[in-house]
């Protein structure tokens, strides 16, 4: 195998909060690593030159929470289509949740996800193993073997870990392997049968509400268990004002808790459900404006460490039905950057540098993954995007197989130009 050609990213705005780097300059990639970043770099012989004028060159985005549906629902998404969609969205790595069929709860299953991910030759795919066998919430899965095979975290996402005892044990046991335990916070008896956020909109539409407290009760339980065990708990898709207050409380006390929020919870409110829009149905549900604003502030002050997509493709036939029969979840890989720029950066809630931290640097840091920096010698996982480019979302044009997005037809700002993984261009936008 011949050495890959050098890649020279020319004249972009190099932006990496992990290095306090922000300036126009060139970036050279050699042998899949970042050779140098900054200043003017002469074009080496045979190098591929990509003109990045007017674009931002940032560490590649890492999504710590997505659903790629393989194995089990390859009609809805495959690791291949998901990894390509990720690359198109500027993600150089994604973490695949284990709620597939069968569940990723053993080393062979973890190995399968990794193998499919490598074959995709797009964004890196890191498997997340299940906390419990079959995600049944009963017996711990073999964390050690799964981590040995390549799992980067454990989670029963899609379902909460109902048993506090099981959660405690998982946090304790995960310490040996240095992996986070990611929990889907939902008190099941409070949330049972719920279709959307509990409030005036749910009352008007006659849909069963899920109170914010269903999430918050589990969030504080997990934080307290992290305090008890010293294990790293990672709270998935935090969506309420109360949750971020509880996380803030935990962090102030040095409890090992990290948390993520999703682009949709940072941009849309429960009003989006009006008209029984199943593309606005997800779990946790879209919340009130006060919640959205509180979570936005938590992203700003770092209470929320990372923004993760919770990309959840569903078949159109499944989404096109009565609201309470439609499945939860929306796709997000190809809209995350633009939604975040449109609602967070353009509205001056956070800077572009902070956004890059929450989408690239922090995910690498808290999940212990390579990448997330433009430091010399680091993996050349790089995202190049135009933060000002306006585009109209056309779900039919997505690389994901899913079409279930609430952003269809909306005009958003910020679009990926190209994505490099291991110094190779895995996505380049045409036109």
């Amino acid at each position: 195998m011949t050495a890959p050609r050098d890649v020279l990213l020319k004249g972009g705005r190099l932006l990496d909060p992990s290095l306090n780097l922000d300036g126009i300059g060139d970036l050279l990639v050699r042998d899949g690593k970042i050779e140098s970043a900054g200043g003017t770099i002469g074009t080496p012989d045979g190098a591929t030159v990509i003109d990045c004028a007017g674009q931002v060159v940032s560490p590649g985005f890492i999504d710590v929470h997505c659903h790629l549906r393989e194995p089990g629902r390859e009609d809805v998404e495959t690791i291949l289509s998901g990894a390509r969609a990720a690359a198109a969205g500027g993600f150089t790595a994604v973490c695949a949740m284990p709620n597939t069929d069968p569940v990723t709860d053993n080393q062979a299953a973890v190995g399968f996800v990794l193998k499919q991910g490598r074959a995709a030759n797009a964004a890196r795919v890191y498997p997340i193993g299940a906390i419990s066998i079959g995600q049944k919430g009963e017996r711990l899965a073999e964390f050690g073997e799964m981590v040995g095979a390549g799992a980067v975290a454990v989670s029963d996402d899609g379902k909460p870990v109902v048993s506090a005892h099981l959660m405690r044990t998982a946090l304790e046991y995960a310490r040996t392997f240095g992996i986070p335990v990611a929990d889907h916070c939902e008190e099941p008896t409070l949330a049972a049968g719920g279709d959307m956020n509990e409030g005036f909109v749910s009352a008007r539409l006659g849909l069963k509400g899920i109170p914010a407290e269903a999430e918050e009760i589990m969030a504080i339980r997990d934080i307290l268990l992290a305090r008890l065990t010293g294990g790293h708990v990672h709270l998935c898709h935090m969506s309420t004002k109360g949750s971020v207050e509880l996380i803030r409380w935990g962090k102030e006390r040095g409890i090992p808790v990290t948390a993520e929020a999703c682009p949709h919870h940072l941009s849309l409110t429960e009003e989006e459900v009006d008209g029984y829009n199943t593309n606005a149905k997800m779990n946790p549900p879209l919340r009130s404006l006060a919640d959205v604003e509180a979570v936005q502030q938590a992203v700003k002050d770092g209470t929320i460490d990372v923004i993760a997509t919770d990309h959840a493709p569903h078949h159109n036939d499944d989404k096109q039905r009565e609201f309470n029969d439609a499945p939860n979840g929306i796709i997000g890989l190809e809209t995350a950057l633009a939604v975040n720029i449109t609602w967070l950066v353009q509205s001056k809630i956070i800077s572009l540098a902070t956004l890059i931290d929450r989408m690239a640097c922090a995910p690498a840091r808290i999940f212990g993954l390579p990448g997330g920096t433009l430091r010399r010698g680091a993996l050349a996982d790089i995202t190049v995007f135009d933060p000002a480019l306006a585009w109209t979302v056309d779900p039919a044009a997505f690389l994901t197989k899913g079409r279930n997005t609430p952003y269809g037809g909306k005009t958003l700002f910020g679009r990926v130009g190209c994505t490099l993984v291991d110094g190779r261009v895995v996505y380049q936008r045409m036109g």
Binding site: G206, E322, F323
Partner: protein, 319 residues
């Protein structure tokens, strides 16, 4: 004057006060038809109406069927016992199949909130919501409005209290929208476990105790309490419900004025309402049933006329 209500009747939330008043004004003269020896007018001759009931219902279906037949429509009843859990053909497939048989209107009752709208967005026929989940039951709301208007003359400033399981009641929602739009003061009364958390946002008062509601109101609309609410843990027992929230003769005797009593049926006598009250002089429960047919005739009439399948060369007019 084409389609004054639009294509469908999905809920009273989506109608203006003028549209609601138009339906009531149309229903008034239509009541006379049911008093004739030949209880039929040829208005909807040639129109096919499908009563698509995914939930068991006797009263509403019969009332619609009478209304359709008295307007000379051809009716087909499709009772699909499938709940939202037992899936067979999807709702949209069922509807498309019916439409392929060239129908003009669908009256739908379904356990899922939003099902009527879902259907309306996908077929050309007029869709009438005969109750969707816990969302709305607009024709019930309209017949309640008509009944109250007949007794009160106007609804403006009248005090109506909706009593019972508002949380799960589509009748309650349609009543709240309709009554507030027509200028009535609306309150709800029931255990907090059976009221939506955000109930005040509807612009209604809340009474914790039925005695307060009775003291305040000009009319009570007493909702049916489903037995399932007890098994699902919303209330401890039907017996206690009756003791604390039941509309009883003793409680009404202490009211400062005579109250009209409405109930959408079917009644649980001895639970939310006592027989003495249900059959008493201030009960308008049977008027509601009579008005139900008239209101549904009015809705059928006002929705008709924009059905492309039925359009024919009939022309002309006088003058």
């Amino acid at each position: 004057m084409t389609a004054p209500l639009g294509k469908d009747l999905l809920g009273l939330e989506y109608l203006s006060a003028e549209q609601i008043t138009m339906i009531l004004d149309t229903a008034e003269p239509l009541r006379e038809i049911s008093e004739r020896a030949i209880k039929k007018v040829p208005t909807l001759r040639g129109a096919t109406v499908v009563n698509l009931f995914f939930e068991a219902s006797t009263r509403t279906r019969i009332s619609f069927e009478f209304a359709e037949k008295r307007m000379s429509a051809d009716t087909v009843n499709v009772a699909t016992a499938s709940s939202s859990v037992s899936k067979g053909e999807t709702l949209v497939d069922t509807a498309k199949n019916l439409e392929a048989m060239r129908i003009d209107m669908v009256v739908i009752r379904h356990a899922s909130s939003g099902a009527a709208r879902f259907l309306a967005e996908r077929i050309e026929s007029n869709v009438i919501n005969a109750g969707d989940g816990t969302h709305e039951h607009p024709t019930q709301g309209l017949l309640d409005l008509l009944t109250l208007r007949q007794r009160f003359g106007t609804l403006a400033g009248k005090r109506i209290c909706i009593c019972g399981d508002v949380l799960h009641s589509r009748v309650a929602r349609s009543n709240i929208w309709g009554l507030t739009k027509l200028g009535a003061e609306v309150a709800v009364c029931g255990p907090r476990s059976l009221l939506p958390n955000a109930i005040e946002d509807f612009g209604v008062q809340v009474f914790e105790r039925i005695e307060q509601a009775i003291e305040w109101a000009d009319a009570l609309n007493v909702l049916r309490l489903q037995l399932e609410r007890m098994t699902a843990g919303y209330i401890p027992s039907l017996r206690e419900y009756n003791r604390v929230f039941g509309v009883t003769r003793e409680r009404l005797d202490r009211a400062p004025r005579d109250l009209l009593i409405l109930h959408p049926g079917p009644m649980n006598r001895g639970v939310e309402i006592d027989s003495e009250v249900a059959d008493g002089p201030h009960s308008v429960i049977l008027d509601q049933v009579t008005n139900g047919v008239a209101v549904r005739m009015a809705v059928l009439y006002l929705l008709a006329g924009n059905t492309p399948a039925l359009a024919d060369a009939a022309k002309g007019g006088d003058r």
